[in-house]
Amino acid sequence: MQTQDTFEGGFDDGRPLRSQALVEGFARIVAVEGPTAWAEPERAASCGSCATVKTCGSATAWFKLTPAEASRFPLANDFNARIGERIVVGIRQGSLLRASSLAYALPLLTLIGAGLFAQAKGASEGLTILASLAGFALGLLIAHRGAKFLAARGDLAPIFLRRSSGGECDLSAHA
C-alpha cells in the first residue's frame, strides 16, 4: 500500500478526491457481473521491507490458511473492467482510521470500562471478569452495527483509481 495526496479523479462526498489522502493498493479483477466488477486485493505482506522476507514463512503460511475469496470486494464497473486485469484501488485514509478504531479500539474500551465499573462497585474478581467479558461482547456488537452504518454510507468502499501500468509495484513493501 502507499499513500497518495493527489491524483486525477472526480468528486466524492462533495470534496474533490485530490484533496483527500488515499491509501492505495493493488487488486485484480476476478469477475464482471453487469455494472459490478469483483476484485481481489493482491496479497502482499506489509513486512516486505524486512531483510529476511524471502526466508520468513509466517505471512506465506497465513495466506495459505485464509482463502482469497474472503476478501473479494465489488467495484462500480464504469471503467470497462476485464477479468484478470490489474488495477489500483484507493481507500480514504480517514476511513482506514475509522475502521481500525471501530474494529479494535471500541471493544477494548468497553471491556476496560465495564471491568473498572464493576471494580469500582466493589465486585469480586470473578464478577469483574464477567463484567469485562460482557463489556467486550457489547463492544463487538456496537462495532458490528457501526460497520454496517459505515458500509451503508459507502465509507469503507474502495475506489477505482487507475489501471496498473506494467512495472508498477507496491512501493511500501520496498521502501
Partner: protein, 194 residues
C-alpha cells in the same frame, strides 16, 4: 484506585515502553514503519491482540497452570493462545465487516510472530498482577507500542524527504533515529519506576 491505574498506564506506556525500553517487537518496529498509515494500522491490530491474548493467558495461568503446577508449560501455552487470538481477531474483523477485513487483515500475519505479544503476556503473569491490572497493563503497553510506531513512522516519512548521506541512507539512519527516540523516552524514567 485511579492513581494506581494512572501510574500503571504511564509506567507501561512510556517509562517501560515495550519497544524502546524492553526492546520487544523490533522487527515490526523497523519493518512496518515506512508509512504512518501502515504503522497506525499495525499498531491498532497489535493493541487488540496484545490485550486479548494477555487476558486469556492470565485466565489460563491463574485458573489452570498455577493450581495444577503446570507453569513450566507457560511459554508453550501462551504461544498457542497468541496464535488462536490472532485467528480470533481475524474472525472478529471479518464478522464485523468483510470490507474492514480487506482493509485491516494484512497486518494480522505479522502479529503472530511479534515477540511483544508474548513478552507482555509473560510480564503480566510474572508480576503477579490482578485481573484488572492485567487488562490495564496490557492495554497501556500496547498503546505505548502503537505510539512509538506512529512517531517513528512520522519521522521516517520526513527522513525520506531529506538529503541523507549515501552511507547512512535506509536502515542506518533508521537505527540512529530509533536510538535518539529511545534516548528521548529515557526522560520518562524520572517520572516513575515500575
Amino acid at each position: 484506585m485511579v492513581t494506581q491505574y494512572l501510574m500503571l498506564i504511564v509506567g507501561a506506556a512510556l517509562v517501560n515502553n515495550v519497544i524502546l525500553a524492553r526492546f520487544l517487537g523490533l522487527c515490526s518496529f523497523m519493518g512496518v514503519t515506512t508509512r504512518v498509515d501502515t504503522a497506525v494500522g499495525m499498531g491498532m491490530a497489535t493493541t487488540f491482540v496484545i490485550t486479548v491474548s494477555s487476558i486469556i493467558d492470565w485466565l489460563i495461568d491463574t485458573y489452570l497452570l498455577m493450581p495444577y503446577n503446570l507453569t513450566y508449560l507457560r511459554t508453550f501455552v501462551f504461544i498457542l493462545v497468541i496464535a488462536a487470538a490472532v485467528q480470533f481477531t481475524e474472525a472478529v474483523v471479518r464478522k464485523v465487516s468483510p470490507t474492514m477485513f480487506q482493509l485491516l487483515g494484512i497486518y494480522l500475519p505479522l502479529i503472530t510472530t511479534n515477540c511483544a505479544v508474548l513478552g507482555v503476556a509473560l510480564l503480566v503473569v510474572v508480576e503477579k498482577q490482578t485481573f484488572m491490572q492485567c487488562v490495564v497493563f496490557s492495554f497501556a503497553s500496547s498503546l505505548g507500542y502503537s505510539l512509538v510506531m506512529a512517531i517513528f513512522a512520522g519521522l521516517r516519512e520526513r527522513i525520506a524527504l531529506a538529503e541523507v548521506p549515501r552511507l547512512f541512507a535506509g536502515p542506518p539512519i533508521g537505527f540512529i533515529t530509533a536510538s535518539l527516540l529511545a534516548l528521548a523516552f529515557m526522560g520518562f524514567s524520572g517520572m516513575q519506576t515500575n
